[in-house]
Symmetry: D3
Subunit: 178 residues, 6 copies
């Protein structure tokens, strides 16, 4: 089975990510979506838990009518060590034949290894950083993410969470609270 | 959606596990299968990586014609701290309404929490420990696991791996090698 | 017994902290003071060890004639994971009925849990960051902390330590020393 | 101030421990009680959390009418490295002048360091291992621990917890559950 | 340059190890000696620190008149993960062309990788486990190790250390001390 | 034997480092070179693995005709805890009588300990930070490092690696990739 690895932090999953998934599935039977930095949550750059990110991706793909057998979603914690990165990822995922990446260092780490690497070109110029900033201002973020993601983020009061995280970081910084 | 959590180490996935999955799906729309001790591999009690265990479960469920939308498989590393266990698991999985467990301490850890807990009764008296012992002797293990698992374990030369692990442990013990 | 949790890093314990402790004790029989980021020391934002911070708080409270049975001080290491934070703290402290916090995210983490949460309003506008900056310049810091803290910090040559830490960080940055 | 360090796991705190505390206080103004292996809980040898152990010790000492200013209780996680042990402990506790220990290796680790070390002789021949075994059988354990400890352990259904932990360990071993 | 990797825990370095080093140097320009489980010390199976083991090996090789340019000694901590083992080791050592190992699982981990693997045959039937047992009884251990190692171990009072470690373990087990 | 400790990250080893090594060897029989932050690699400030840094130092010293018995190179991971730093280092290295350091906090950590500390004065004003910046621009970096280092860095395509790392960091920052 031809399958491809797609690694991201998905904080949150947005239309750019969905677009990549669709492109990968045009040429692969399955996409293995790795949720990176899975151990991080409730932080400014990583507001959502791995479980929440799993749910966001899962419901967005269902909504996009991508059949369940065409993808799997696997949370993997960070190792902070690129020299071990390839092996670390390989401990957690089923075999794959292709790797989609936008990172040259990831590409370099795979050099000499069997997997075919495809340089990722993002057509939609959306970044999760911008999505988070838009959520924080509650301004125009819904059109950057799949409807299912927008719906879930509202249910979770994402704006409040992001604001609380921001306030806590500022408070911690200035008032020395834990 | 009514969904249930099923946690195991699945070293390897056997017919008893498959039976539990089927029973859970009689009353739930989805089973969330958590691969515990995901960081462990190439050890006597944990010979297979999380990625390999993912593949074993995934192919066994496909073979059993369980539709892909009815299950998801999530590797989670061990925390060695039951007091944090419930929260730790909840960081990595989508929401669930029911918990199936054979462990009274897991049950106790959930006490007072929203999830409905169902005491797991295993009909098939198969343990993974016995499966591993049978693989090591290459004697009668194929009938304890789903055919897809048997096929994969043969491809991976599971008997050789288990023997190598055992020999290495013995060698390490007696010869002080790393 | 009605008791309240008060979490801080206390780098160092200052008059603002003391004021909060006194306010908490007006309405509670005991305050459980958690020394957060207990594993950190000899760093610009965390110059003192948990043991030193224990001593600073302990002697300041004695000096303020707060009876020993009215407080306990418990160092707890950081978890970098707010989703586990409440459970992590609860593993290390005796039961408490109230939580005093200035952090909205901490408040959100406790949501739905039994503890009564009280939004902390600091009357004295002192931050430990400013105290550390004043120590570094040896300018006016003594009046920001309880006399017992001032006395101990002088005994420990706190200014020298903070300067050494700063110089080491700069040296490390520019000269690539370990 | 002459103060002494007393390190134990206190799983649970028993009359032998109480006896040592009293003996230490005959010659010292304060005893610093370190709860070792603070990160462990819900395990056969470490059934209680650090917070629970804090409460057991605290209430037993109050009951014994030992004034609160004569002791403090500090949970410290394990380092698994005796060569770092002394320094690790010293990061978490206020200064002490004496060390009470029954361990020759701890004594050796302190060699050449300022602290006076006193070989601990236990008069009461009670071990926490025996207390836990007695709790498991619910047979005669109450007379091995201070009344306050007995009362708390009953409130927490300690026998049930120890039995659940044991059953879970056995279950895990034989059924390969997480 | 043709160089070979030799991994061991060397608790302590004995004549069997020295014999392997000599055999490796018959066919290689340099041997890279990796001290495994470098983070462990003062434990029954790992009594010596990595620094002490470095010194034992270094002085034994000097005594055997093996030129310093023919070996290097590198301590590497354990990873408890054979699937990452090869990459982990490779992060810490200079390049090597040959690997000497007695472990089939290590051999399997290298499969498909460039390094030539040579099955290690030990002529001298000495194990470090037996050396430690002999030291503990102070009976005939000196003839199992190079003279330099014997001399250092005596200077360090190795018998006393091993006995203290054993007593501490027993004491901890029976008296519940930390 | 009079020997001295020299700790650095050596990202990469440059002429300033070589100069220090030579100065140390004027008055000491051996220099113990500790590669700090050994676990870090493929990061902007830590582009090379400990093994690569070992090789850079080793070949530079050979080229400078420093006899192999006059130095040893030991990678040690970071502890992020200065209060444990001295003990941590001492676990990994053979005994030393002198310490060369440019860091006042390291000096303070050793206070009261046996080792003689020598304040390091660097004559050559080269920092590894500047070397890395020069490599990135491929401009004039070769004259800042020993010829052997220059040769190896070229073989490894150091400029490409540093550029790839930088691009990956930027990409990760702006595109939220893992």
């Amino acid at each position: 089975m031809q399958s491809a690895l797609f690694v991201g932090r998905f904080q949150p999953f947005h239309l750019g990510h969905l677009d990549v998934v669709k492109k990968i599935l045009e040429k692969n039977e399955r996409v293995i979506i790795v949720i990176g930095s899975a151990e991080k949550n409730f932080l400014p750059d990583n507001p959502f838990t791995a479980g929440e990110r799993f749910q966001l991706i899962d419901e967005a793909l269902k909504e996009a009518e991508i059949p369940a057998e065409k993808y799997c979603i696997i949370p993997v914690r960070n190792v902070n060590n690129y020299a071990l990165w390839v092996n670390h990822i390989n401990c957690y995922v089923p075999p794959y034949t292709h790797l989609f990446t936008g990172s040259k260092i990831v590409k370099a780490c795979y050099e000499g290894k069997y997997t075919e690497i495809i340089q990722l070109k993002r057509v939609l110029k959306i970044s999760a950083t911008k999505v988070r900033e838009a959520i924080l201002k509650n301004k125009g973020w819904e059109k950057l993410v799949p409807p299912a993601v927008a719906r879930l983020l509202k249910t979770w009061n994402a704006q409040t969470r992001l604001r609380d995280i921001k306030e806590t970081m500022d408070y911690t910084k200035y008032n020395n609270e834990y």
